[in-house]
Symmetry: C2
Subunit: 305 residues, 2 copies
């Protein structure tokens, strides 16, 4: 999985960074999710099934890439990346449930409610959700409690009803309402954009960048978040389900308006490219230390899964 | 609901405190869950349905009763109580789902997945889960970020796979495994005891009580937590479903071992009484400021719902 991701980009720096972060996150999950020898075993096994050995780890990569601007401590960046991945994975486990998207396959493996059962999947999602906050609250994540509190506040905001959970509610509404482009944009800014924004903002907070200096990074995150989602919509229409490791073509089947249904394939592709260029323009004040962020911007629309 | 709870105790201080906290928590939820005028409306309505106008508010009451020992700020105690009630309500919403306990009635109202739908219930639980952490991370909860971080860490720990979520997994396993008394005790210490322990510990943290001074409060929380659960098991066997506002007799139907099935009704009742006496003995070092905690200890086994 990691090897494939790594091979598909011609950018050696990005390739190495993706491989390193995937290994770091899997190693960290392995310790975080040590299986206890008691009746909670099944819960931890389900969390491991969901969290380990899959996924692009794009969000932890974004934390690290932004952290390079501020020469952040590597261990601290991994911990923040691990927390954000806990949130991402929890949201996938709940999203895949029969009552939600009813998906059978995720990262090429059976979804948690199929590999285990629905009750265990609900609890595994809930447990990963808590672990995200437990990681951030720990002093190993950052020695300054003010910084940790700010990370916790931003994470809760990005994940909750004013962020991702709100976006998921809109996503369900999208099956029965005919949303226009601006509503779909707002939906995606909440559903995927809020957590992507967290990754960049978290590194800025740890790097003590004052809020008034974060405008460029906010713009970068907003633009790659939307570009990422347009690329997802394009993959849903044109992608290879085997590579994606999940079912495709589901949006059209559900009658959901997407960037592709609203703009058409060609215009959607142009829009994604424009957003990536704009994202990189937001980084113009940064030197070569932002090159990984630039490479990630290209990657979000060039990926094939 | 509140009026009934208030009327059923002969203790005027407890009655007044229960009524006051119920009003404070409902008022705080009313502001926290302001319904937005956009497609997230349904999510907020579902969270309001779950969170408002029901429940004993025992956990916020415990925060405030413990806070009296340290003359804590009233507003801060309400915010911590609100956060813990978010966690409690989220756990009920998920617990009531068809894949979990499959309950139709909660606090005398249809459960969220019936009043709305399953997907909305999953998201409403997830959203309340995040709001708990967002409340605690806010500086209005406590001016010192070190204290806030400690509250956040304790809450994540109490709620997650090493606490409540782990206990819920054990509770599911209890349907097919024949647990003995010590395993059922451990299950309940995780499933309900961890969050009850948080309430008392949170007030101690805000009151700057050093860890070595918390032994008595820990013992109090552990004992009333178990007594509360034994009383719940007794109500499940002998209670009035109308008063409880939920289905009863479910544990026996599911073939789950409980304190009552393992000890018998009489022995369970004696055990609960003994735990309450022991809980109050843990408070012997405290003066009349602990009287509300003492009254709560009696209440947890004398309640009829």
């Amino acid at each position: 999985m990691t090897v494939r991701d790594a091979a598909m980009t011609g950018n050696a720096m990005l390739r190495d960074a993706m491989q390193a972060i995937a290994e770091d996150i899997d190693a960290a999950f392995d310790i975080l999710l040590t299986v206890p020898d008691d009746p909670r075993r099944r819960l931890f096994e389900a969390m491991r099934h969901a969290a380990m050995g899959g996924g692009k780890r794009l969000r932890p990569l974004l934390v690290r890439a932004t952290g390079k601007l501020f020469s952040l401590d590597r261990e601290q960046m991994i911990r923040v990346g691990l927390a954000v991945e806990c949130i991402h994975v929890y949201s996938l486990v709940h999203d895949d449930l029969p009552a939600m998207d009813d998906d059978d396959l995720r990262h090429g493996k059976p979804t948690v409610h199929l590999a285990f059962d629905e009750a265990t999947a609900i609890l595994a999602g809930d447990g990963l959700h808590d672990l995200a906050f437990e990681i951030l609250a720990d002093e190993r994540t950052h020695p300054d409690p003010f910084v940790r509190c700010e990370l916790l506040r931003l994470m809760a905001r990005a994940s909750g009803p004013h962020g991702m959970a709100g976006g998921q509610m809109m996503d369900i509404a999208a099956e029965t309402a005919a949303f226009d482009l601006s509503t779909v944009t707002r939906l995606q800014q909440l559903k995927t954009g809020a957590i992507i924004g967290f990754c960049v903002e978290a590194a800025a907070v740890m790097g003590r960048l004052p809020p008034e200096g974060r405008t460029g990074l906010h713009g970068y995150a907003r633009d790659i978040g939307l570009a990422f989602q347009i690329a997802d919509d394009l993959l849903d229409v044109e992608g290879d389900a085997g590579l994606a490791g999940k079912a495709l073509g589901k949006d059209a089947a559900a009658g959901k308006q997407t960037f592709v249904s609203l703009l058409g394939v060609e215009q959607a592709r142009r829009q994604a490219r424009m957003l990536v260029d704009q994202a990189k323009a937001h980084l113009r004040g940064y030197d070569a230390r932002a090159d990984l962020l630039r490479a990630i911007a290209d990657y979000v629309i060039e990926r094939d899964r």
